[in-house]
């Protein structure tokens, strides 16, 4: 019997992929380029992501037993499906690289005086190698086990911030107009589009009661909370937001009134290490899945090793420098990630009637 991923597990995977990377560096980067209104753009981008997720849900409900690749194959044929899967593979690989380098910089800054790159890399790569080779439902269980801890950590951080936030710091809203910052914001598309990990769970997920409503409501709540977190960061640190590059732990560390909790902020750092590790593992699985769909199911072992080695090489190329990684992502990858994030779902939505037509054609052919 095929072991399916439950609705709860899917939700937690989506939440981890939504939250993990965004609440570290992004607030500081956006504060630098856009200013205190950045949370509005984050909210809009996340809402766009949400609509794309709805398209995926629509496709999933129509074909609950088909894998994502099978859907693509039915719509566009084998060749285009493979090209699209390869594009997704590159997107996931990019995300892995982002998580890998971010986690290193986060630990180096907060927990270690000088963390050697090999001390960081080899254990994590060996363990992710093991996890990526697990069945999808085993990874889902792993996420289900740790995700509540991550969510509690995020909520504690948010609540501590809310207690001290002065939201009047955010006023006046959109001082420089709405469209002025949009072009800058597009360049940060790398940080979004996390709903795409859903493709791994097509045909692998158990459809339970009120599946669509539960998933969409929970994700919507998560999106609002993330936007609220951004708003809180900007209102707490106001003009200093730029210097707080690790916002999730900075809230606990920096506020004077939370000094008692602040001395234990390393607990939150560990929780976020956990979140980033899960994020990395989820995307490695995504990369592995899309690669396998592109090139067939042979050489699984080699594929996983190759993906991890590529991530390591990419990290070494940028010398584990997060600043360099961000500037590269902003310069070269934003168009690619933007087109993957919004292009694929819109294309799928437009071509979704094709599945029915193809099915009908197949039926007629079989009858003949």
């Amino acid at each position: 019997m095929k072991k399916l991923v439950s609705q709860r597990q899917l939700i937690l995977i989506l939440i981890i992929s939504l939250v993990a990377l965004k609440v570290l560096l992004l607030p500081s980067l956006l504060a630098k380029e856009i200013g205190r209104d950045a949370y509005i753009y984050v909210l809009i981008a996340l809402l766009f992501d949400f609509f794309m997720l709805l398209i995926f849900l629509f496709l999933f409900n129509k074909n609950p037993d088909l894998s994502f690749y099978q859907i693509l194959e039915k719509m566009f044929g084998c060749m285009i499906a493979r090209i699209m899967m390869f594009a997704l593979f590159l997107f996931f690989l990019m995300k892995c690289w982002g998580a890998f380098v971010t986690n290193y910089s986060y630990l180096n800054e907060n927990l270690y005086t000088s963390l050697k790159w090999y001390t960081y890399c080899f254990p994590i790569l060996i363990i992710v190698f093991f996890i990526a080779r697990l069945k999808v439902n085993a990874l889902a269980r792993l996420v289900e086990f740790f995700a509540p801890i991550v969510i509690i950590g995020f909520l504690v951080s948010l609540l501590v911030g809310i207690r001290k936030a002065d939201y009047t710091n955010l006023l006046p809203i959109l001082e420089n107009g709405f469209f002025g910052n949009f072009s800058i914001f597009f360049k940060y598309s790398f940080w979004f589009g996390d709903y795409l990990i859903f493709i791994v769970f097509f045909g692998n997920t158990k459809v339970e009661k009120k599946f669509n409503i539960t998933i969409s409501t929970t994700i919507l709540i998560a999106i609002v909370l993330i936007a609220l977190f951004f708003a809180t960061i900007f209102s707490v640190f106001s003009y200093n937001s730029v210097s707080h590059t690790n916002s999730i732990s900075d809230i606990l560390q920096v506020l004077p009134s939370t000094a008692d909790i602040g001395s234990f902020d390393w607990v939150l750092i560990l929780v976020w290490d956990m979140a980033l590790f899960l994020y990395f593992a989820i995307y490695i699985l995504g990369a592995f899945y899309s690669f396998r769909q592109t090139f067939g199911k042979k050489y699984d072992l080699i594929t996983t090793s190759a993906i991890l080695i590529v991530v390591l090489i990419l990290a070494i190329i940028v010398n584990f420098d997060i600043e360099l990684s961000i500037s590269l992502a902003k310069k070269y990858f934003w168009i690619f990630s933007l087109s993957i994030e919004y292009g694929i779902p819109i294309l799928l939505f437009l071509f979704s009637p094709m599945i029915k037509r193809r099915d009908k054609a197949d039926e007629i052919f079989m009858e003949k």
Binding site: Q9, L111, P123, L134, R141, L142, F145, L270
Partner: protein
């Protein structure tokens, strides 16, 4: 090739006919053959006598039978034989002359096994086959409270090494016609009896079939304890984590059978195995079910804290000192620096030294005679520990951390061996990689355990995967009346355990 084939066909048609035996073999010859097959051992007794002038022989192993019962219920009645004295056959002996109800006719090839199992076997001249009398009389322990499952309230009976007594203890509690007890045997030299006990209408039939399949495919010389069967049933026998539940008390075994699990009893072992098994079972104590639910829930949470402390405390202590001292609160940091600054060993070696010292003391106190064991623990705990601190070999925080970790291991006795190994591994990871290592080590551990699937049951159920209805008896325990559903974490046939009619609030069933 052809002759054995025909013999096997005829044997199937006439199962009680032994075609290869010589019917005219005299009792004396037969008994000598049996004795020589049993290596002419001195404890195998062959007692020759006459049943109304017909020679007969009773063979048994001296040490494992009840001698009184033999003379009273077998030999005495046969000396005063009732019936046709010219034509003596086994049926007339069995039905008219012997008062023992545990007696049966057996085939020639069963004789040796029956003798070795403690039966007295009666051979009669010119009679094919034999009569086996169950006069088994091993020395056995009485029913006592098991040392590792003591309770403050609730039943105190524990299983013994006798499978018969253990079945009796279960039968006493489960008075149901649907209780099924299936027999198997394993071990070419031990012929150990194994019994599968379950409710036919509760248990998933695939689980029973799988258990039987796994047991039947093993050819082993001997089964001494239920641990052997546990290993056979495990999906990953090389793992340090056990995948089969065990218990020493009939009340626990019965409650697991009632939940739709299978209990496996092995002759000679007081440990009863239960499958399917989930990790949460080790956090549940029988005392939890005989005390208030709030108290039980609190104790379960304490057990989890104890588990975390025992695995992570030494590792965190090392990691904090070696890599992350800046995250420690200042006062705490000053205390640690004060006590550790002149130590000859670094924190990593210091903690390892204390852990190893503790484990040696623990092993010594178990193996030594009881009176010496107490002396060893006094020497170890008071003299060695204290002197080591005073001599400046180890620091007081180090001793305290390892001592706390060592004590907390035994809060979950069934997991103690796994935890002590994990404590070593995590201490090593903490010393080499720091907190990041501990986190990814934990991830690896959980990922590894998430991949366990014993008899269709996820190891971390009902938490991962989350099973809502089973949360009532997980880390938080609810009132027994709230646990109306059968566990959903593992496959079983029934949904509801019980219902309450005419409940005052809302007449819910």
């Amino acid at each position: 090739m052809i002759v054995p084939f025909f013999i096997s066909i005829i044997k199937n048609i006439y199962p009680h006919t032994n075609f290869m035996s010589n019917k005219n073999l005299s009792v004396e010859k037969k008994s000598k053959e049996i004795l020589s097959s049993l290596q002419n051992n001195s404890d195998v007794i062959a007692k020759y006598f006459f049943i109304a002038k017909t020679p007969a022989c009773l063979i048994f192993v001296d040490e494992i039978v009840k001698q009184d019962e033999i003379s009273l219920n077998i030999i005495n009645p046969l000396n005063n034989f009732v019936g046709d004295k010219k034509k003596i056959d086994l049926d007339s002996i069995l039905n008219k002359n012997v008062s023992l109800c545990n007696a049966s006719l057996i085939l020639e090839d069963e004789i040796l096994i029956k003798i070795l199992k403690g039966y007295a076997v009666l051979l009669v001249e010119n009679c094919e086959g034999a009569i086996a009398f169950n006069v088994v009389g091993y020395e056995q322990r009485s029913v006592e409270e098991p040392p590792s499952s003591t309770v403050i309230s609730g039943p105190r009976e524990g299983f013994t090494e006798s499978i018969k007594t253990n079945i009796g203890l279960i039968r006493k509690r489960l008075v149901s016609k649907k209780l099924k007890i299936e027999d198997c045997e394993l071990g070419e030299r031990t012929k150990t009896a194994i019994k599968l006990v379950y409710f036919d209408d509760l248990v998933d039939s695939d689980i029973v079939a799988q258990i039987k399949k796994r047991i039947s495919r093993v050819k082993i010389d001997g089964v001494i304890d239920s641990y052997y069967i546990g290993t056979i049933l495990e999906n990953k026998p090389n793992s340090i984590f056990r995948q089969v539940g065990n218990c020493e008390k009939p009340d626990i075994a019965c409650s697991k059978i009632l939940e739709g699990r299978v209990a496996i009893l092995v002759d000679g072992s007081p440990i009863v195995l239960t499958v399917p098994f989930v990790l949460i079972e080790d956090f549940q104590s029988s005392n939890d079910y005989y005390s208030e639910s709030h108290r039980s829930s609190m104790l379960r949470v304490l057990r989890i804290i104890a588990l975390i402390m025992s695995i992570y405390f030494p590792a965190m202590f090392i990691a904090l000192q070696l890599y992350h001292y800046k995250v420690l609160p200042l006062k705490f940091l000053v205390t640690i620096i004060d006590t550790t600054q002149n130590l000859p060993l670094n924190p990593f070696l210091e903690v390892f030294f204390i852990i190893i010292l503790f484990d040696i003391l623990f092993e010594a106190s178990i193996r030594m005679p009881k009176y010496l064991g107490i002396a060893v623990s006094i020497v170890g705990a008071l003299i060695l520990g204290d002197t080591a601190v005073k001599a400046g070999l180890v620091s007081p925080p180090g001793v305290m951390i390892v001592a706390m970790s060592a004590i907390t291991i035994y809060i979950i006795p069934n997991q103690s061996s796994q935890i002590s190994i994990l404590r070593f591994i995590f201490a090593f990871i903490g010393g080499t990689l720091g907190f990041h290592g501990i986190i990814i080590g934990s991830m690896f551990l959980v990922a590894y355990l998430c991949n366990f699937d014993c008899f269709g049951t996820p190891y971390f159920a009902p938490y991962s995967p989350f099973v809502k209805s089973d949360q009532k008896d997980a880390f938080i325990k609810e009132n027994i009346f709230e646990m109306r559903n059968m566990p959903q974490s593992f496959p079983n046939q029934k949904e509801r355990r019980f219902s309450i009619e005419n409940k005052k609030r809302g007449n819910k069933k």
